[in-house]
């Protein structure tokens, strides 16, 4: 069934978009990530203008993270204090990111820098996670117990000033590296049109040794706030939030998210990390192929947005 999108100004197949929402919602519910890095390319692939795709899926991520944030909240599987610091520093990063975004667009190489950032970021994070989870799995198979958290084993960045206790995460670390992480997430998020879940989750797990059970809920809460702000910012600055597209994606996303969350609970920690690593790596690979492969069509046309 075709439905006309009032802001994107083209009709799309409603069930196709709904299905995309369910699929991405499933994955994001499973891993506690926003799924923006999957949804944005999918939307562009079905013909949605990239500005509309980036702006609209922010609303969808807001919805699916609300749904999961509530259930993590009830299970007390999130760290509000940690999330608050990430959110506040994230806003600073977002402002810097929006400024950089506009500068890159003026230089005319936005698309290229986005692709290269995707490849680099996803290649690095994906490979690291893949390597780590495979090592953990082989260790368990050899009968040894997976490495437990050693309370005294802190990285130098955790011992910086302004140390703070996070009882839920059972960590005692400096605020500075957490704020830096928040700024980085906000920065990359606003440039790449992603929530940054796939960065924040490994960072919290490996850099700050936050228990996996708390990580996903905390990341979800952070995503929720960031994406609400992002949706409003996109609506105000470029008017490309398509509310009809958003509604279809949201309905699909929350449905898929519920099933994804159930599937995610049955995964063991190492399996979880292995699957997330493979997902991140394959999306990164897709962007790499796009950069290197000879394009079928060397020319591209873009309608310039007429600014009123």
């Amino acid at each position: 069934m075709q439905i006309y999108l009032p802001i994107a100004e083209l009709p799309v197949d409603m069930f196709l978009v709904l299905g995309m929402g369910v699929a991405v919602g499933f994955i994001s519910g499973m891993f506690g990530i926003g799924g923006g890095f999957l949804m944005t390319p999918l939307l562009i692939f079905v013909g949605i203008p990239s500005a509309v795709a980036v702006a609209t899926q922010a609303a969808q991520i807001a919805a699916s993270s609300t749904a999961s944030a509530f259930s993590y909240w009830r299970k007390k599987a999130l760290d509000g204090k940690l999330a608050l610091i990430l959110i506040c520093s994230g806003i600073i990063g977002t402002i810097i990111g929006v400024w950089t975004f506009n500068a890159l667009r003026r230089a005319g190489q936005l698309e290229l820098s986005i692709n290269i950032s995707y490849v680099t970021l996803m290649g690095l994070i994906g490979s690291f996670m893949l390597f780590e989870s495979l090592r953990a799995m082989s260790r368990t198979r050899r009968g040894r117990v997976a490495l437990k958290r050693k309370p005294g084993n802190h990285g130098w960045y955790q011992k910086l000033p302004w140390r703070m206790r996070f009882p839920r995460s059972r960590i005692y670390v400096s605020v500075i590296p957490i704020a830096v992480l928040g700024i980085f997430i906000g920065f990359t998020g606003s440039i790449l049109g992603i929530g940054g879940g796939f960065i924040i989750i490994p960072a919290l797990i490996y850099l700050f040794r936050v228990p996996t059970s708390v990580v996903v809920g905390t990341s979800t809460l952070q995503l929720l706030f960031t994406m609400v702000v992002t949706t409003v910012l996109h609506a105000v600055t470029n008017g490309s939030v398509d509310i009809v597209l958003a509604l279809i994606l949201i309905v699909g996303g929350v449905l898929g998210g519920q099933f994804g969350a159930r599937a995610g609970q049955n995964l063991k920690g190492e399996q979880f990390r292995l699957l997330l690593a493979l997902l991140v790596l394959s999306v990164g690979l897709r962007f790499a192929v796009e950069l290197v492969a000879t394009p079928e069509e060397r020319f591209s046309i873009r309608v310039l947005e007429s600014r009123q």
């Binding site: 075709q2 439905i3 006309y4 009032p6 802001i7 100004e9 083209l10 009709p11 013909g47 609303a59 807001a62 919805a63 699916s64 609300t66 749904a67 944030a69 509530f70 259930s71 009830r74 299970k75 005319g108 190489q109 698309e111 290229l112 290269i116 994406m227 609400v228 949706t231 409003v232 910012l233 996109h234 609506a235 105000v236 008017g239 939030v241 509310i243 009809v244 958003a246 509604l247 949201i250 309905v251 929350v254 449905l255 998210g257 519920q258 950069l291 290197v292 492969a293 000879t294 394009p295 069509e297 060397r298 020319f299 591209s300 046309i301 873009r302 309608v303 310039l304 007429s306 009123q308």
Partner: protein, 263 residues
């Protein structure tokens, strides 16, 4: 359709007696406004017309030929070309086209070059000239020229080719059909993502390569109802619109967490 044709025939017949001059054209569109609602997937515009002549009109040696142009609102475009830099492909060169018709169709009752010569095409801005003045033809097999590969022609050709592939530019030499000797009709498909705004339809009557009459009409493509209200809200009240979108997201997310609650 029959009614409209009958009305046109009446118009043609009841025309006031005129001195022995050239023919006059009467044309009509199937709609004056294409209204976009939620189930819009593109449309087709029909053009009907009659050639008015009376007893004193001179008889023509050559048959009548019609050329109808449909020109959409102008849009600013940029055409980019990818080139290999090292191992990656990147946009290396681009050309901006400030005002290019967002939709352009040339409908005729025969091959354009058989009806009028290239000079006349240029004079009346029929064919590719209406899009980019420096291009020679609207055909796929452009003449092999010895001129250097200037970026201008390369980008213009890419523009015409891509826009044709996407259905925004159309050259249909069989679109105009003469129902009788003096009445004709034509149809032009409008893709769903054709730009919104005013479309100009110009009907030209030729005989033996000479323009006998010309008539202009037009139609609008616009959103109505919910689609129009949504677009207006996004444009005029962006902050409230953004809050509404975010609010909708939060509400549905909360509802989902209540409905699917498992504890």
């Amino acid at each position: 359709m029959r009614l409209r044709l009958a009305a046109l025939a009446m118009l043609a017949l009841s025309g006031a007696p005129q001195p022995a001059r050239a023919e006059a054209l009467v044309s009509m569109l199937s709609t004056n406004a294409v209204e976009i609602t939620s189930n819009y997937t593109g449309t087709e515009i029909a053009i009907f017309g009659a050639i008015e002549r009376d007893a004193s009109t001179v008889s023509r040696g050559a048959p009548y030929q019609m050329v109808i142009t449909v020109k959409g609102p102008s849009v600013p475009l940029v055409v980019r070309e990818k080139e290999k830099a090292g191992i990656i492909w990147m946009n290396s060169d681009q050309r901006k086209f400030g005002e290019v018709p967002g939709f352009y169709a040339v409908l005729s009752s025969g091959p354009l070059d058989d009806i009028i010569d290239p000079d006349t095409q240029r004079k009346f801005q029929i064919g590719a000239q209406a899009i980019t003045s420096s291009l020679e033809g609207f055909s796929d097999d452009l003449p092999v020229t010895t001129e250097p590969r200037t970026s201008a022609t390369v980008f213009e050709r890419a523009l015409l080719r891509l826009r044709r592939e996407q259905g925004f530019y159309k050259l249909d030499p069989a679109a105009v059909i003469f129902e009788r000797a003096n009445t004709f009709r034509a149809q032009v498909p409008l893709p769903a993502n054709a730009p919104l705004g005013r479309y100009e339809v110009t009907a030209h009557l030729f005989s033996g390569g000479v323009l006998l009459a010309k008539e202009k009409s037009g139609f609008y493509v616009r959103k109505i109802g919910f689609e129009a209200a949504t677009a207006a809200a996004a444009r005029n009240r962006p902050f409230l619109y953004g809050l509404a979108a975010a609010g909708m997201a939060l509400l549905i997310g909360w509802l989902a967490s209540v409905i699917f609650r498992r504890d």
